[in-house]
Symmetry: C2
């Protein structure tokens, strides 16, 4: 059978190869993988939430547990593993009558499908983040937040990239990727902790949130540029400049054209009378933008983010946000669990001597990640009373944006296994450390009720929705819950 | 390159083959395909709705237009077509720098992904239908509706299968498949027309709706049995009996066990505090049930339907229905457009002499489809005043359930191209014909306002939702809008 395939493959190899795969087995493998993914994401997310950490961290750790590092339920061919090491394939062989000959084909096809679903997940995630980011608020956060954000991007990026190249002899492209992963700031985690200690409306809280929002946008531009470099495998300064310009131009152009497109979008949607009359046109727009961004050598997620920013300006925003929530709930966990599952933490096992360099790299990244953000507090001027350390510490957690970097980096093949695992460790540790550190440097809990909940209830507008399903808005979703409150706090 | 692949493929052929496919190109192809699918579904669905036909029919025709029959934007390798006939692949070659060598691999991989997404779509559709079907109402519709339903399943099935085998010499398995496709009744279309002519609460209306609901359940059992036969390619009477028993037992067992599982499900969901706290556990349950149904040789959609029926009994029903709507809006059109795209209507072109047999088969199926349902009105007893013809005509439209048969049949490979196209033509024509016929035999329009809208507004419970997004509930979604109203009408 395989011998015949090998001969016939001299014509159109892949088409004939994939055609022979039993598609009902692929479907069964996809269903099982989704069950494993959802189970891991819910158990991890809930446990994480119980101990006061962001659910996304639990989803990632859940992915690590079911993935290549521990249980081998969810493994992917990229890591060099084949079907025999996948427990899902083994389970299909024992329960569904999958034959060993067909196992490789089913394994490859279902991995491809799960990877595409994960990518759709991160596209929907960025679309949702865009849909929650208000441009006018972004522009209003002021010069101090902008400086904090820019320093918080440039300092860790430069220190991380140069350090990896000079101290560890890493090539330019992977070093730049790792440096870029250091730039992110998770607005969700920080704003949740700030709200818990009643500091969301403090001067420091406003600067942190404003900077974190700008950071998101800068981070996505950096990611688009870096991922494009990774495709070539080398760094060409002209190209870097060109990419920075094109990424910025794409985002600005989308926003400017979006102002004209907005009203047509609303007009079209208002004329539609069948189901999906809002979600489907929105996704057509988001996917077209994602495709355009991908075609001009940037990242698909930049296009989805731009589409979200544009549609945020329409009257349909609230309704669209509400409808995107269940879709994101369904697709986004696939991304985070997959990132965790693909990460082989075994390469950081300290018992094995050859792993030491990876461990030292991870420690180096963590130190740069912390110092590079803490110094941003020093850039605040003209405010002698302000708690500079609190601002710096508030910028530390990387959260989901850092994971997007790690996921895109791993998919591009630019990162070595130890470097990829070191980045994941950096994201996990900065996110774990930030909440207790922030509580420590901000020692005065002003109130017991959380600001976030109050703000959401006050500012949501659609009160009926808030009352019916409070957990949907106030729970997890760093981005949804907290970007909602961020604008309010900057106005007060 | 291909030569090297052919050599290396003597080890794990498919894994290595798929690995070499550029995953960012696959993603780009998937994004473009989704844009085409959504565009076709929205344009088709809206136009269909404007002329008073169900949107799902427009989505199907939209799929035919973008598919193998006309535009060649969305083609699949199953039909024997290769990457060179896919306009999306050609577009990627000209815009995204896809190389001709890589085209076959990208074509195969993206077709696989779209097919899996379509299957997820039909799984979510059946889950949603289950979630809208109330078991107690099903049992309350009475003996007359049950007889109408059973006759409406048995008569067209027997006549269709026997006719195809004896008159056309078709093999048993494809003949049974086509016969099974004749059994469906689209509750959505009929109830919409009945509500438009103000007859939803008439005796006839109640019997038709009750029978159509029972028909849905019988149809899904028939499909599970038939699809299982198609896997073997031959008919074994022992196996048929075994399958009918196992399908019925699966459904009844799920419902009985569901009564115990229900309260645990609600308890678990109430304890979850992070996003997706309802949708994710529900999908874990639905996908596990789908997997189980697939493993015991039935169809995945039977499991999803059973999961929906079980969860309909919980307090979380309303909230879950609301959250599943956007997910279904996103995934279900992929299924219907794909069914249309895979249908080669060229095989029914009357200008080509060899197509004549297919055309005659299509005509035969359409006649059986109409007569087989019209006679069901004759079975109503003890009601001398009743409009028997109206009951029979009300059962004619096949709608989305008929398309599910055609889609599953095509995917199983059991149907020849002409027979598959003939089934699609039968579904389209019965669905087109039913609304005018029903208006003709039910000549007395009682009121101008539509019953459906009134019933939904009265009975929905979550009034705030209804007011905020009336189009979501009253528009398309035959199942969602009208099953909602069906129970109310049978109570009055």
């Amino acid at each position: 059978m395989q011998f015949l395939n090998a001969i016939s493959s001299s014509v159109p190899l892949l088409a004939s190869a994939t055609e022979t795969v039993d598609s009902s087995m692929v479907m069964a493998a996809v269903l099982l993988s989704l069950v494993v993914i959802y189970f891991a994401s819910k158990v991890g997310g809930e446990l994480s939430n119980r101990v006061g950490l962001p659910p996304v961290l639990g989803e990632l750790v859940g992915g690590v547990v079911v993935g290549i590092s521990v249980l081998h339920l969810l493994v992917f061919p990229e890591g060099g593993t084949d079907s025999s090491s996948s427990l899902i394939i083994a389970f299909l062989q024992s329960t569904a009558g999958l034959t060993p000959q067909a196992a490789d084909g089913v394994f490859a096809a279902h991995s491809e499908v799960i990877s595409v679903l994960a990518e759709l997940g991160v596209i929907v995630l960025l679309f949702e983040i865009g849909l929650e980011s208000n441009l006018k608020d972004l522009m209003a956060v002021g010069i101090q937040a902008t400086i904090v954000a820019v320093v918080g991007v440039v300092a860790p990026f430069a220190a991380g990239t140069v350090g990896l190249m000079t101290l560890f002899g890493i090539d330019a492209v992977p070093a730049i990727f790792a440096g870029a992963a250091l730039t992110a700031t998770s607005i969700g985690i920080t704003s949740k902790v700030l709200s818990e200690i009643g500091r969301l409306n403090s001067k420091e809280g406003q600067i942190i949130l404003g900077a974190a929002v700008i950071d998101d946008v800068l981070g996505i531009i950096v990611l688009a540029v870096v991922a494009s470099l990774a495709k070539d495998g080398e760094v060409d300064v002209t190209k870097v400049i060109f990419l920075i310009i094109s990424a910025t131009a794409f985002l600005l152009g989308a926003i400017l054209l979006g102002n004209f497109f907005n009203s047509s979008f609303v007009r079209i949607v208002n004329r539609l009378k069948t189901r999906g009359e809002l979600v489907i046109p929105a996704f057509i727009f988001a996917f077209v933008m994602a495709y355009l961004a991908a075609v001009i050598q940037l990242e698909a997620i930049l296009g989805a983010f731009a589409a979200g920013l544009v549609l945020e300006e329409t009257d349909k925003r609230k309704e669209l946000q509400k409808q995107v929530i269940p879709i994101a709930d369904m697709l986004v966990p696939i991304f985070f669990v997959t990132v965790g599952a693909k990460t082989d933490l075994g390469v950081l096992n300290p018992a094995i001597p050859t792993n030491r360099e990876g461990l030292i790299m991870a420690s180096f990244l963590i130190i740069v990640a912390i110092i590079g953000k803490v110094i941003t507090g020093l850039t605040v001027f003209g405010q002698p009373e302000i708690n500079r350390l609190a601002i710096g510490v508030g910028m530390i957690p990387r959260g989901e944006v850092g994971l997007v970097f790690a996921g895109v980096g791993a998919a591009s093949g630019a990162l070595s296994k130890p470097l990829g695992a070191a980045i994941i460790m950096m994201v996990i540790l900065t996110t774990f450390l930030a909440p207790p550190l922030l509580r420590f440097v901000f020692p005065d809990p002003a109130s017991k009720t959380t600001d976030t909940e109050k703000l959401v209830l006050d500012g949501a507008g659609a009160t009926s929705l808030t009352i019916e399903q409070p957990q949907l808005i106030t729970a997890q979703s760093p981005d949804v819950a907290n970007l909602e409150s961020a604008p309010d706090s900057s106005e007060s």
